[in-house]
């Protein structure tokens, strides 16, 4: 059953335009789809036959590594050299409020049930350092009676099931084959969903570049066989980094020889940053 269009060719200015544009767009799209599809197929089929494709990083195969990070809080002396090194190595915003790694101080005053917690961002500590670009802990508890006190270094946990990756609407943050959670700043639109989603507060918004920032385990260093800057400079061996695929690595040894824990295991994020020497209040 076919009906003749009403109105014929007189009133058909808009319709004709739509028809014409529709045809043109459809053919263009079909060409594009066909072309892209063919190209895409060709590319992937070749790669699949020859070898699994890996990112072109010199002398580095990300399928060979499974990086892990260890923190021995019993060793940390709170010198904050890791924080300065991280800022210098990665060009992190030179303020006292943007950190890829940081250190917290937990202090239980005599008889108190809950700890007092501060980090290098605390106003007292900024005053002690003398500037926003230098970091040190002040000695505010030197004359107090203390039940217990220690430092805890913090860093992105590079989770096995990262909630930040799950919520990213643009695919700007992702987990690599070798275990790092990275951010593609070209694709980041600065919506900060990931900042909200991270249970560890490991992400922050860089006001200068309008993108989200976080620890990369110094991806440009570890892919060259170096240690992350924070591990490189730690004078007391409180930070440990290595390949969990390699039994002789520092991190494998650390995991074998210690009873380790992760932060907030109940979130199901499954961190690959392992701690020893934490207390129940630390999260």
């Amino acid at each position: 059953m076919k009906r003749k269009p009403k109105g014929g060719d007189i009133k058909s200015g808009r319709r004709a335009f739509l028809r014409g544009f529709g045809k043109a767009l459809a053919s263009v799209s079909a060409l594009m789809i066909g072309g892209a599809g063919l190209l895409g197929k060709k590319g992937t089929s070749d790669a699949a036959v020859i070898k699994p494709e890996i990112p072109p990083i010199p002398d580095y195969d990300w399928t060979e590594h499974d990086w892990g990070y260890g923190i021995d809080a019993t060793r940390c002396i709170g010198c904050l050299r890791c924080v300065e090194a991280c800022k210098a190595e990665n060009g992190v915003a030179p303020t006292a409020h943007h950190f890829r790694t940081w250190v917290e101080r937990y202090v239980w005053l005599e008889g108190e049930e809950r700890p007092l917690v501060d980090s290098q961002s605390d106003p007292g500590n900024i005053a002690a350092s003398g500037s926003q670009k230098e970091y040190r802990f002040d000695n505010r508890y030197q004359d107090k009676k203390i039940d217990k006190a220690f430092f805890v270094p913090k860093i992105c946990n590079h989770c096995r099931h990262p909630s930040c990756v799950q919520v990213c609407p643009t695919g700007a943050t992702f987990k690599t084959e070798d275990g790092a959670v990275l951010i593609d700043h070209d694709y980041c639109i600065g919506c900060q969903y990931c900042v909200q989603a991270c249970p560890y507060g490991a992400r922050f918004f860089d006001p200068a570049d309008q993108v989200t920032e976080k620890c990369t385990w110094c991806y440009h260093r570890i892919t060259k066989g170096l240690q992350p800057a924070c591990v490189e400079v730690c004078p007391v061996g409180a930070r440990i980094f290595g390949d969990m695929n390699n039994e002789a690595s520092d991190i494998s040894k650390f995991l074998r020889e210690n009873r380790v824990q992760v932060l907030k295991p109940e979130t199901g994020n499954a961190p690959t940053c392992f701690y020893i020497g934490l207390d129940k209040e630390v999260s």
């Binding site: 799209s29 580095y60 010198c79 090194a85 210098a88 690599t176 400079v233």
Partner: protein
Amino acid sequence: MPQHIVRLIVLLVVFFATAVAAKIYFTDDSFYRYGHYRADSVPELATGKPKYRGPAYCQACHTERHVQWTAGVHKVVKCEICHTPAREHPETEAKLPIPTDTVKLCTLCHEKMPSRPARQPQIVVKDHPYPHEDRQECITCHNPHAPSIGGLKPAVALAAECAGCHGADGKGVGSFPGLLGKDAAYLAREMKKYKAGARQNPMMTPIMQALSDRDIDVLAEYYAALGDKSAAAPDNTGSSAVVQLTAKCVGCHGAEGQGVGVFPALTDKDAAYLADQMKNYKSGVRQNPVMGPIAGGLTDEQIEMLAKYYATSGAKSAAAPVTAPAANAKCVGCHGAKGEGVGVFPALAGKDAAYLTDQLQNYKSGARQNPMMIPIAQGLTDEEIEKLAGYYSSLKPSN
């Protein structure tokens, strides 16, 4: 099919085609290659030159400094922690900074804080020796590249490094000049010249670079004062040389060679036995990581002297049992193994017991001020003070 339905279908197709076309057009080619992200961003993130180059990079040029640094306890504190990241030094930055505010820098790690692990060496800044109002830099006394653990070395321990060439008593051996009796200011000035490289010598320069300016001053005064003493009692050089040698023993075997903990007593042994064993350590027949190098640094003649000294001093103390009280360990570091006085530290041996008691009590109460003596005296009970005073008054003055 009704025409308006056809139009609707056409419009929907057009809409989806546009959407798909736009998605394909705007999505990066490498997206989805490994997952829901742009694959090219991975190599992008992996590029970039490391700014921290590690000590091996520094070693290439700063070889001597590197040797000294790796030998000390500060080998865990890597170059770039204090000197800032090397980046492309020396191509782009000719010089890396040398920290000037060492009090601020050193206290980052060494200021006493309740949250620091107890094993970390820490100081209460306001109670630290030489607490000057006009802040003294840490490196005046401490060598930042190889600080000594547990505080500063007393002159006797420092002098042990000189004894290898200049003789145990600093009298000079062969082509190595004598040190004793030389003017303290002269000795200090020349040692600092070696340290700075203004005076060139392949042996002296590295030795002096391992010392702080304070160590150099202490050594200069030590040898200058030593000369005065031996000039006053020239016939006594033999026995004072033995006392010098015992500096290597007293650290473990006790000020009197009486034995401390696992370290055996020496005074109850036969001289021939002691000499044999030291020679065995020296030749390696008897293996021991501590004794081996110590005995290896002694001549056979010195071994005989030491053996005789300890064998006879045992007999002496048996005849007149003057045993050092346990607290004596706190005194010998500065005042010498026999309380004979070292450099600026006065002699104790032979002083009146009541005088010594009074002065220790004065330090303890704070009536007499001294940044080193006050904490030591405050750590002593009244009974210990009495015992120490009695002990030192019973010893013979060294000259």
